[in-house]
């Protein structure tokens, strides 16, 4: 027999806290693992560092014990930045058991190994029922109770059914699909497009340019997805078009802000040190660009972002070269 009676979230950043809240308002006892800010959540139901003054569900209990989360939760969502994801997954792996469900809520790829977050969960734990939760989810709008939706992808239907039950509410729809790779790639690659969208706004180019960027960016997602065996319709869903649209339109997105400030002449170092702490798109664009070169897939926008971000190329020069590419059939 198992003794699970809670939902667990690992990582008390803005998205992790929001997920814990969504579970909490669904009357699930929810454990939120975090290093700092535990008392504030448990006493005042707030996480002011990451989710401003929004009230977090009283069903959410913060803890700094991974063991406690693993002991009590059938569903555990890991919402940790990609650079420390493996380390935390390994520690979690010391406690979880074979019947538990692990979901990644992180949208990135591991730089050293190019691994997806779900692959890391498989490698670092004994769990097999793995999935990803991704979609156009700006935490602030969700905490305000505005209508939103997300996608849970897993090869196991059981994972989808249980996650929908835990998170779907009157203002939050949860869809399911089996294309884990597609959802993870969409979630990771939209961050690169978002950097480019920030540049477009930083240069005051307007909506035509952004529309061009988004549609051709989705096309690049499909191309690399095709090479890797994803279902292309995933990229036209919430984790592809949906997530890309929201990130490219929202000036609160961290990746967007990286692009915006680069276009305004700030250096990447300055941006990372003073404006955004973590922007997954910076690392993801390096990983995807290198992979595309290896497998011979043409991704001009992603290559352009890579050249600007990692090779310090002039933005206008890159845009000019993109626009001067030979005209092709769409």
């Amino acid at each position: 027999m198992t003794n699970y009676h809670s939902v667990g979230v690992i990582g008390g950043g803005s998205w992790g806290t929001t997920l814990a809240h969504l579970s909490g308002i669904n009357n699930n006892k929810t454990l939120l693992w975090m290093r700092n800010g535990i008392d504030e959540i448990n006493t005042h139901h707030r996480n002011s560092k990451y989710t401003k003054d929004y009230v977090i569900s009283e069903q959410v209990k913060a803890t700094n014990s991974l063991e406690e989360v693993a002991e009590n939760c059938e569903i555990i969502i890991v919402a940790i930045p990609s650079h420390s994801f493996r380390q935390i997954a390994y520690k979690l792996g010391n406690y979880v058991k074979a019947d538990q469900i692990l979901l990644s809520a992180s949208k990135g790829l591991e730089q050293k190994t190019r691994s997806r977050m779900t692959t890391i969960l498989v490698e670092e734990t004994c769990c097999k029922k793995i999935g990803v939760i991704a979609g156009p989810n700006l935490f602030e709008e969700i905490l305000k109770g505005h209508p939103s939706a997300t996608v849970v992808s897993s090869r196991f239907n059981e994972v989808i059914v249980k996650t929908v039950k835990a998170f779907a509410s009157k203002n939050f729809r949860v869809y399911g699909n089996n294309d884990v790779l597609g959802s993870e790639l969409g979630g990771a690659m939209k961050n690169i497009v978002a950097i480019a969208a920030g540049m477009i706004d930083g240069l005051d180019f307007g909506n035509n340019s952004k529309s061009l960027l988004v549609t051709r960016g989705i096309s690049e997602m499909c191309r690399i997805g095709d090479r890797l065996g994803t279902n292309n319709s995933t990229f036209t869903g919430l984790t592809g078009v949906g997530d890309t649209m929201v990130t490219c339109a929202c000036n609160l997105s961290r990746n967007y802000r990286v692009g915006y400030h680069l276009a305004k002449g700030k250096s990447l170092n300055y941006i990372c040190e003073n404006i955004v702490s973590v922007a997954e798109g910076i690392n993801t664009c390096k990983v995807i660009h290198e992979f595309a070169l290896e497998v011979g897939v043409e991704l001009p926008i992603i290559r352009g972002v890579y050249e600007i971000v990692h090779e310090n190329k002039d933005i206008m020069e890159v845009i000019t070269s993109l626009m001067q590419r030979k005209s092709l059939w769409e």
């Binding site: 010391n94 074979a98 019947d99 490698e123 059981e158």
Partner: protein, 530 residues
């Protein structure tokens, strides 16, 4: 199947299959009439194509009864059909035949060969060729031996020849284990010698021409029940012999699903030793008995016309003797490389039957099959576990593949041909063997050296095995080793060396032997135009 279990196993299969079919009917998934109709239709169709008067008469009579049958009679017909099929499938194990065959088979083949090879008999120090010398078993032998005591083992070999089941049978004997139960294609029973041994050594019959869904369900259930009875099973997850010669990268998972079902049933029934261990293994031949037939079939398949070979080298006794003779007299080797054991969830298992995750932590695997805290079947979940297991098996096959001289030389030659004939399409290249009439020995040795450097690097990283005789051998030794083997057995040797020139003689076979090393990304030096 031991005689004392036969009746119970058949009874269980009949009851379970009948029950499962009736549940489908009750759930409204299918009509009872449809199940029976489908079975009669497929059987009559098969028998029209491959006439058997007695059987046809039977199926016609069933059809007649079915047309007049009320519900109760339909149920009784369904049960009868299941019984008919299971009686045909069920294997037999005869201890006496087993003892006899394991004693005579290795040397027996040698004696048989001496009747055709008087030179060996008349030589000064005649030494009878013996399968025991040619068959080398590597890998996790001790683990296999130990796990067989701790639960039920499912052995999953690669499949390139109908000799595989004989080789595995003999390998198990050498290791000290009794034969494993396995489903042999009914076409194998056309060779009377092999048929005798198969009939009495636990093989059950699988007729691939029987297309009725009911028949397939019975086969799967038979496998499930035998595993639950503790019979170690042997599946060839590639389904049929690899047509291209390549190591399997896509598996048929139906029988593995039966294994997982048996494991869950074992847990639910509180069996004393419920665990089932998955042990893949690779079988590598320097020469493959049916290489010519299979490679032709592969080319026909990729060209569009698909069929099942009913009459190939294996069904011709003369070819088989010729093959065994060539293999044994050449100091030729057949390697069986046993991979690490896994549970159904892809975790490695130690000799005590304990599972470990990828970071070496113990796993309580019973929990994988919990439904709300209780052990139970869950169709989609279990299918996904088996799919993931299939991926792990494919990786192990690749890792435990044995690179032999024939594979190495064929790979190098094929790459040279590709390099030198970039304009030719695949079929034309195989048909013509390229534009050059021959290559000098040096033209082959140089790329062979480069190839070996790459191959040895892979071996150091534990990504492949290399025949121990070739590990430190220089390129010339490897070349001659392979040429010596290519010279014998095949009607048309694939590569011939004459006057220091290498002639491409049978490009189909070169492609066939090359595929074994195709997916490792090993390259030869680029051609220097200068």
């Amino acid at each position: 199947m031991k005689p004392e279990h036969k009746e119970d196993v058949c009874h269980d299969v009949v009851e379970r299959v009948f029950e499962a079919q009736m549940q489908r009917v009750q759930r409204g998934e299918v009509l009872l009439e449809t199940i029976i109709n489908d079975t009669i239709y497929h059987e009559k169709k098969r028998l029209h194509a491959d006439p058997d008067k007695k059987a046809l008469k039977y199926w016609k009579s069933v059809n007649k009864r079915f047309l007049l049958a009320d519900r109760k009679e339909q149920e009784s017909i369904l049960k009868e059909l299941i019984k008919i099929f299971i009686d045909e499938i069920v294997g037999h194990f005869d201890e006496k035949v087993y003892r006899f065959s394991t004693n005579i088979l290795p040397v027996g083949l040698g004696i048989l060969l001496n009747t055709i090879s008087p030179r060996v008999l008349l030589s000064k120090f005649p030494r009878l060729p013996d399968l025991r010398d040619s068959l080398l078993i590597h890998g996790e032998i001790e683990l296999l031996r130990e796990l067989e005591k701790k639960g039920t083992v499912i052995l999953l070999p690669t499949h390139s020849s109908n000799m595989d089941s004989i080789i595995i049978g003999f390998a198990l004997y050498k290791i000290g284990l009794q034969p494993f139960t396995y489903g042999a294609g009914i076409n194998l029973f056309t060779n009377w010698i092999v048929s005798y041994f198969m009939n009495n050594l636990g093989a059950y019959k699988v007729d691939r021409k029987k297309k009725a869904a009911l028949y397939k369900d019975i086969l799967k259930e038979y496998a499930t029940v035998t595993i639950e009875y503790g019979y170690n099973n042997l599946f060839f997850p590639g389904g049929t012999r690899s047509r291209s010669g390549a190591i399997e990268d896509r598996l048929k998972l139906g029988l593995l699903g039966s294994g997982l079902k048996a494991y869950i049933n074992n847990l639910k029934n509180n069996k004393e030793q419920p665990k089932i261990f998955i042990i893949p293994c690779t079988i590598s031949y320097e020469l493959v008995l049916e290489a010519e037939g299979l490679s032709k079939d592969f080319l026909r398949q990729t060209g569009g016309s698909k069929f099942i070979i009913q009459d190939d080298e294996f069904s011709r006794l003369g070819r088989m003797i010729n093959f065994v003779s060539s293999t044994l007299s050449l100091d030729s080797r057949i390697y069986v490389n046993i991979c690490p054991a896994m549970d159904f969830f892809g975790n490695r298992v130690d000799k005590d039957g304990v599972s470990y995750d990828k970071r070496g932590r113990k796993v309580d695997i019973e929990r994988y099959v919990f439904v709300d805290g209780q052990v139970d079947h869950l169709k989609q979940r279990d299918e996904e576990y088996v799919r993931q297991l299939g991926t792990e098996i494919v990786q192990l096959y690749k890792q435990y593949n044995m690179a032999l001289s024939t594979n190495i030389l064929a790979s190098v030659i094929y790459k040279i041909l590709l390099r030198d004939n970039p304009q030719m399409d695949f079929y034309r290249l195989l048909f013509t063997g390229g534009e050059k009439e021959y290559y000098t020995v040096d033209e082959v040795l140089e790329p062979l050296k480069v190839f070996m450097v790459e191959l040895r690097k892979l071996e150091e990283k534990n990504e492949i095995f290399i025949d121990e005789r070739l590990k430190d051998a220089d390129a010339e030794v490897i070349l001659n080793h392979a040429l010596k083997r290519f010279r014998v057995y095949h009607n048309k040797p694939s590569i011939i060396k004459k006057n220091e020139k290498i002639y491409i003689n049978n490009c189909n076979l070169i492609y066939y032997y090359n595929t074994r090393l195709m997916d490792y990304g090993i390259e030869i030096q680029e051609k220097n135009d200068d």
